[in-house]
Subunit: 145 residues, 3 copies
């Protein structure tokens, strides 16, 4: 039965250094590499960032939109607001938690014929909201459909 | 082993014409049809829109809320703001990218006894934010749990 | 073949009483219990709330951030705005629908070695936006990867 389980079961971890401060990092190639290694042709990739001050989403990864998303999030949860979270940790990253909770840590992307079903201008990104550089751990689970 | 793989593996594509401009389209019946065709009784449907100016979410699909979600998004990322994205493409849809990145392209819905586990007033919708009519491709993957 | 299907197929329902009014409830332990019962060591937990006025997300569950997320959502979709939804139902919860549609009803969390891959300060929460106490039904599907 080993053969079946090998085909069904694939996980990889992507480790990344970020600059924090809403750093937007294109991880599409790294996720594609995991899909390739998995040898799973049809299924779904679930991409999940561990931690409560970062999110995974999709964007057309170009410098203008990277600025635009930072500005949009600055309106939604400004970096310099007074957050109640400050009372717990005094670490100045309340905004980062709120952004992460609104945007959520996971994204699911279908796989067909061994490729992620992304549009040409649709990339998978990590956004690290924290107010310092971080080492981030992203889990990629490949589920055979 | 073919029987097992047939049961585990099901994918369908939904093709839709939209009016763009934050068009909210109820796709619940189309997703239900895919679930029916899959003959998978227990699992999850992963609904994913290809492209970086649209999103999949759930809503009580009634005309008032369709207006309300458009007005809420207009506050979050106004259509007529100046976006840096304009410098790359000059196509006036920066707002659409920002809304899509905030709302994300995928939604996962459990399936039990051959039915999507939705509430009575909970529908699956595509929102097409782009500033023109579009032909959209939605991928539905059914994963047997 | 029963053995295979038992391993692949696991679902549980979590039933919860909420206070409504943006009640944020930590459901991590309940989801962990489902993972334990499933005896699935590697896979993904898909957590989904039935209904169109609640969402599932992740947060560092501490009292300050619970206040902060409520305040952030009050800016995005104020409770006392005039919503078009009012014309359909006259039940005063237009804000709740808009918040739920923006935040979405599902979250996917990888499982490794029988444990959810959450950070130490990363909890799974239900947020019930409705303007009254509710009995909520959360579906947890465990998919073996």
């Amino acid at each position: 039965m080993a053969g079946i389980w090998d085909l069904l079961n694939f996980m990889a971890q992507i480790n990344l250094s970020t600059k924090g401060f809403n750093d937007v990092i294109d991880i599409t190639k790294k996720v594609e590499e995991v899909v390739g290694e998995s040898k799973i042709d049809d299924g779904v990739a679930i991409v999940f960032v561990v931690g409560s001050t970062a999110a995974i989403t999709a964007i057309e990864y170009e410098p203008g939109l990277v600025k635009d998303i930072k500005e949009a999030l600055e309106k939604i949860a400004p970096m310099n607001n007074n957050y109640h979270h400050e009372e717990a940790w005094h670490d100045g990253n309340g905004y980062a938690h709120i952004r992460a909770t609104l945007m959520k840590p996971s994204l699911s992307v279908p796989i067909e014929k061994g490729k992620l079903c992304l549009g040409t201008w649709q990339q998978i990104v990590l956004i690290d909201f924290d107010n310092k550089p971080r080492e981030r751990e992203i889990i990629v689970k490949i589920i055979s459909s």
